[in-house]
């Protein structure tokens, strides 16, 4: 069974249209040498252009799953497939990854940090300049192109990290709790900026988070994971229209969804505990 159950949507909402599959996770399992089982039978099909959140408690393996999708680390069991990728290219070069920590090179300017993936791919500095400048503009850091990371605030560093992920014009954006370490005001602002960019650029976003509120605000689909060993136990469609502004946080739809997700999460967390 792919998921344990699909939750009935609140009355009056329509089911999400099926999107062409982009990534297929088939009973993915991950165990470490010391015996820890991080993931067990995680199955999910992610469609083109979705904004899907992986929501789960701490230690449930959501970050591990994200990294496996990115190709960092090996899968112990099951498979991850990209049905649309050509045999030659695989999914190479089409991924942007944003870590929880901005992970910038402290010895390089903002420009050079963002230029890095292009540099590693062999693109010359002059050739890449236009693309890098465009991405810097996208995240609103134009005046800071030649500053060093130590002179930037936490939110700004995260923007640089996001810009770097976007520099290669990815099809898929993988984000591992990117806003968790930021203050609430910055977090809300970056949430909105991210949604705006997503609407214009049309990437597929896989967003790992432990925040119910964030996942409901941002995504149109939430996969809820159980605690370790991680498994996808619920798959919810958040069918609220975009663009979503701050006002959305006050609507009854938003609150209903949050309640729904909260119930699912609680159930997911208690399931594994009962089994142990």
């Amino acid at each position: 069974m792919a998921v344990d159950h699909i939750v009935a949507l609140p009355a009056g909402t329509r089911a999400m249209e099926a999107k062409p599959p982009l990534i297929e996770l088939n009973e993915v399992g991950k165990s470490y040498l010391n015996g820890t089982v991080a993931l067990a039978n995680a199955s999910l099909t992610i469609g083109h252009g979705e904004f899907i959140s992986l929501l789960g408690p701490s230690g449930c393996g959501k970050s591990t799953l994200l990294r496996l999708i990115a190709g960092l680390g090996s899968i112990s069991r099951g498979s991850i497939g990209w049905p649309q990728a050509s045999k030659a290219a695989g999914h190479m070069g089409d991924l942007g990854f944003v870590f929880q920590d901005p992970t910038l090179m402290p010895w390089a300017t903002v420009f050079n940090n963002i230029y890095l993936p292009l540099k590693l791919a062999g693109v010359g500095r002059a050739a890449a300049a236009a693309q890098v400048s465009e991405v810097i503009k996208m995240v609103g850091l134009e005046p800071f192109a030649h500053t060093y990371p130590r002179e930037l605030s936490g939110g700004m560093k995260m923007r640089v990290s996001i810009a770097r992920a976007l520099a290669v014009k990815p099809r898929v954006l993988l984000m591992d709790e990117p806003f968790a370490a930021l203050d609430e005001i910055t977090r809300f602002r970056l949430n909105n900026d991210l949604l705006q960019l997503w609407q214009s650029q049309q990437w597929t976003v896989i967003f790992v988070t432990h925040s119910i509120f964030e996942s409901v605000y941002l995504s149109n689909r939430i996969a809820v994971m159980s605690s370790r060993p991680g498994r996808i136990v619920a798959d919810l469609a958040i069918d609220a229209p975009y663009p979503r502004g701050e006002a959305f946080r006050m609507t009854p739809t938003y609150n209903d969804y949050c309640r729904l997700v909260s119930v699912e999460l609680a159930r997911a967390m208690s399931e594994n505990e009962e089994e142990h």
């Binding site: 990294r67 990115a70 190709g71 960092l72 190479m92 991924l95 990854f97 870590f99 920590d101 992970t103 090179m105 402290p106 010895w107 390089a108 890095l116 993936p117 540099k119 590693l120 791919a121 060093y148 990371p149 130590r150």
Partner: protein, 257 residues
């Protein structure tokens, strides 16, 4: 401030020294007054300067070779754990062996006609280890998230070395160079002391010769030049470190608080 205060203190000490020598009528072959040392500096400046130059050449050459070899081996160690495990103990042996003990052996090896080669080898041996050790540490001390990032973008081994490990290791390397600078000088001096009579040409030799001839003021003058060189080198290396790191490293960045 950083320059004036030590200088002022130094001047104070010199004045006090001069006074004490005069007051206690200390003989010049026991402890010469600064004025005598200054006199010796002026009179013998030609010989002293030539000796200083020779010592400087050996020191700087030894330091340069130590940097090249140290970094090369560090890169090797960072690439392969097997190589690191097998070669590291031998590097440690190099560090802990006192060069006074192996100097005669090296001298015989290169031939007594080529004292300078022996000096170079010995000074390099002394200066080598801090650079190797520090750079190896630096190359391995990279944020693992950055390593993941480089993996994600399919960086080649060389790219990872050049773009990530090298800049990350730079603060450590520069720290090692500062230490090795002084060690290279000490190595050059000690090696020359051990090399013995007649053919030495550096400041160490001047010191030995002057003390043998009881020309204590000149001995002190040579010592003074040695210290001056050592201090200048240290400051130059510190300046280099600050210059290279001032944009981004915590140690060299200027902050308001």
């Amino acid at each position: 401030m950083r320059i004036l205060v030590p200088l002022a203190l130094g001047a104070l000490i010199l004045v006090g020294w001069e006074y004490l020598v005069w007051y206690f009528q200390i003989r010049k072959f026991i402890l010469p007054a600064p004025s005598m040392i200054g006199e010796a500096l002026v009179t013998d400046y030609q010989t002293l300067l030539v000796s200083l130059w020779n010592t400087m050449v050996v020191t700087v050459s030894a330091l340069s070779i130590a940097i090249v070899l140290g970094v090369a081996f560090a890169v090797l160690f960072a690439q392969s754990r097997i190589i690191e495990i097998s070669l590291y103990p031998y590097a440690v042996i190099l560090q802990v062996t006192p060069i006074v003990a192996i100097a005669p052996f090296i001298l015989i090896w290169v031939g007594l006609d080529h004292i300078n080669r022996a000096l170079l080898i010995l000074a390099t041996i002394v200066a080598f280890f801090p650079i190797l050790s520090n750079t190896t540490l630096g190359l391995k001390s990279v944020d693992h998230n950055l390593l993941n990032l480089f993996d994600l973008y399919r960086a080649s081994r060389w790219q990872r070395l050049k773009e990530l490990q090298f800049p990350a290791a730079l603060p450590y390397l520069l720290g090692g160079i500062k230490i090795s600078g002084g060690l290279a000088l000490i190595g050059a001096v000690v090696a020359e002391f051990v090399a013995g009579s007649g053919t030495g040409t550096g400041l160490a030799w001047r010191i030995v010769e002057s003390s043998n001839r009881l020309n204590i003021p000149r001995m002190f003058a040579a010592l003074f030049l040695l210290s001056a060189f050592g201090i200048s080198m240290f400051f130059l290396l510190t300046l280099l470190e600050r210059l290279l790191l001032r944009k981004w490293h915590e140690s060299a960045v200027r902050r308001e608080n």
